[in-house]
């Protein structure tokens, strides 16, 4: 498995820094996913070797954590929090707006592969609800209108 030199370097460091090797597993998976887009069979086999675990064990771990995925997602993963604080401030409208605008539902990917849409649990931005995370970037106090603008911005990014 070929990763970028930066990631490879990071992997080396992670694998050696903990008292037990397997501690590096979750960061390895997350960073690999960030670069590759998802955790392919190849990535899983590679990481299993690095931390000396069976592929089964790695899959057991992957399937537990909601950020980790074994199938490709859109370039931009739009995560709308609809948990209580956000819900009370209109998160469901925001989510529905995204559904309409992107033409996809929860955990689906747009045809062009640009966006995935996901309804997520509390992302720790409750005082600035409703909150949306696109990939790792937070957007606070979102309304359907600002959401529209946001999606435009991201859409434009793909064109650049």
């Amino acid at each position: 498995m070929q990763y970028s030199p930066q990631l490879e370097q990071r992997f080396q460091k992670l694998v050696s820094q903990y008292p037990w090797k397997r501690s590096a597993l979750i960061p390895l998976l997350l960073y690999a996913q960030d670069e590759v887009g998802y955790l392919s069979d190849e990535v899983i086999a590679d990481i299993a070797k690095r931390v000396e675990l069976t592929e089964l064990e790695v899959r057991n771990v992957i399937s537990y954590y909601s950020l980790l995925r074994t199938r490709p997602a859109g370039k931009f993963v739009v995560q709308v929090c609809t948990n209580i604080s956000c819900m009370l401030r209109g998160a469901e409208e925001v989510f529905e707006h995204c559904e309409r605008r992107l033409g996809v539902g929860h955990k689906q990917v747009t045809k062009d592969g640009t966006f995935s849409l996901e309804e997520v649990e509390c992302i720790g931005a409750c005082s600035w609800a409703p909150a949306v995370q696109v990939n790792y970037d937070f957007h606070l106090n979102v309304t359907p209108e600002t959401m529209n603008k946001l999606l435009d911005d991201y859409q434009n990014k793909t064109r650049q």
Binding site: E55, L56, R59, N60, S63, Y64
Partner: protein, 788 residues
Amino acid sequence: MADVSITVDGKKVTAPAGTLLIEACKSAGIEVPAFCYYPGLSVQGACRMCLVRIEKMPKLQTACTVPITDGMVVTTDTPEVVQARKATVEILLGNHPLDCPVCDAGGECELQDMTFTYGAAESQYMEAKQHEPEQQWSPVVFFDRPRCILCYRCVRVCGEGMDVWALGVQNRGVTSIIAPNQQDHLECEECGMCIDICPVGALTSGAYRYKTRPWEMNHVGTICTHCGDGCKTTLGVRRSKGGMEIVRGDNRDKSGINGDFLCIKGRYAFDFANSEDRITQPLLRREGRLVPVSWEQAIDHVATRFKEVRDAQGGNAIGVIGSNRTTNEENYLLQKFARSVLGTNNIDHHRTADYPGFAKAIAGKQNITATLRDTMTAPAVLLIGSDPTEQHPLLAWNLRTNLRIHNGRIYIVNSRDVKLRRQARAFARVPGDGGESSFVRYLAGQDNGRQLESGELSRDALTKFRDQLNDEKELIVIFGSELRGDDISVLVNWGSSRGAKFICLGDYANSRGAADMGLYPDLLPGYTALDRGSRFTEEYGGAAQAVRGLDIGGMFNAAANGKLGALYVVGSNPIARYNVNPFTLSKTFVVVQDMFLTETATTAEVVLPAANAYEKGGSFTNTYGDVQMLRKAADVAGVRPDFELIVRIADRMGADVRKLVPFGKGLRADMGQSRGAQAGEADRHLVWLAARNLEPKLSPFDPEALLDEIQRLVPGYNVSRLQLFSGNEVHTFAPEQSSLTAASSPESIVPANDTLFTSGTLGRYSNTLNSVIENRRAAPAESEIPAD
């Protein structure tokens, strides 16, 4: 640990400190329900069925996780506790299919039982249940997800118990699921432990599922016929066209030396018995072809020809080859028949371990052999050679359990990277050719060990290994067929001075019995040298001679030279095993008793269809010397036990059958074991008889009629019949009580080289063994065609 006392439901219960509360309750006869708790596996606290009230604790506590402490006051049956358990069953049933009548586990389901106990059958929830198709993970393992209650027993028994780790838990919350290691299928040891341990019908057996209902079978506890460990197995049998057919093997009652353990062979490879290829009629060669004849004709022909050869050329023109899979009684009878009726010492069997060498090394010593059970609790074990994971799965299980539960120290010496090295405190990888032997000499200080220092084993490691062993006070030394003759003596001399006990590993279900019962040209039963056998010769009527007979190689040489008039082969396939040219036997009258038309049987003039170990009574001695009773479970029309065939031939030859088999000597007689599949009842009856010193042995076909003589004449076999008939194993001492001073040609030993997925000839006829992918992967053994 010191005992402490607690009070459970007003009852005083005393148990060692640290005992889990659930076990303490059980010992007092108070059952605390549990799904996830399973003795011997790690505790989970996951199912919450075992909640009890412990005084001074704010919440209900899980009895499976709490070690008892002195003065603890516990209640297990208050309304609060009952209600909590009921609620758990209810919620579990909420998503569980309630189609028990068509579930494979119906009648044997712990969830069903629990529902019955707590009366939670009324469904409180009206949402739709999850439905999903069943998955087949391997030829023997099926998974029905909605039935799974996530007790994690399967995951633990596979990982902790088997050290295979082929099952995992994936996803989380209500979507959690048990997953196989290859995403949609399993690659593992196919032991089926996960299936038997599953409390519900989530994991089911490909071999058994939907064939029958548990209550429509008879269940007979007998001994597995595959390897030398001798696991107890409960066979579920059911009427079929030709008699009683085996449909299931397990050991759910946890009786016997193996507890709940069985490997793939014990659990599934009974299916050779149901093979379409079985011979069910006597065959006689006419005009070059084997054609079916009546039993009368066949026996008559055999007896007549044996007599002719004996009377014309003398007993020495007849050879007899016995089996590693026939009973002690049959083996004893065969050699007695050979020696007293045929008048020859030309008797041998396929040797897979140097038991005579072992006997010579330990003769006269006391407390020198260990039982199979000992291997689970011994503080230290040294394993030299062999690969128990493949060849002695129960031993491997015991060693793993020993490490896990009793912290045993396991030392391994092997020329291969055996899987058990994962459990080893120290592993010495020795060179391939004779490395084990050099190691023994190094250990005993007879060799500087230079040869052993291959790449993997440094001088330091070697020295440390030896020092560690020298420090062990209570050691069990287990060795495989890599060690023979003098090696064994050297090893025993080193170990016996430090109080070590020994185990010699041989390959088949009754190899040890064949050896103990004297299937040797130079040894009488109990490793008795021919010139010391007066005990036997007197009894046999003086017919036996003191001249050493031919071993297998000798017999084939004699045949090639036209000097072997007749060869009697019982349950063995020497032509394939020793790669003999079948034309060697063209001038010999060959009789074969077998289940299948093996390479040897196809050369025979007469082939007699034989019953296998699941179809008859008698006893087996495992390679550790533990003797156990077989119980007749199945029945195939047309076949006969080898015992009966030998007696019939002898009778037709005009021998005094009452001398050969001293039957009808008891005060009163009873049919006992001959009731076959009703043996459950018969077993109890046998125990009752034994307790009153009554014997069955009504007929000369009753193997128990010979047990007497074996007990009386074979040193080390005077065992408790009550124990034996109760279904327990009893340790015997033939090698150490022998007076053997000379070894019997160790060079003729040929290991079977079976893997977990092969079992000599039987394996060839087992659909299950042939259907699992692991079988295909396993490299062919040294000798291409497995035999016996």
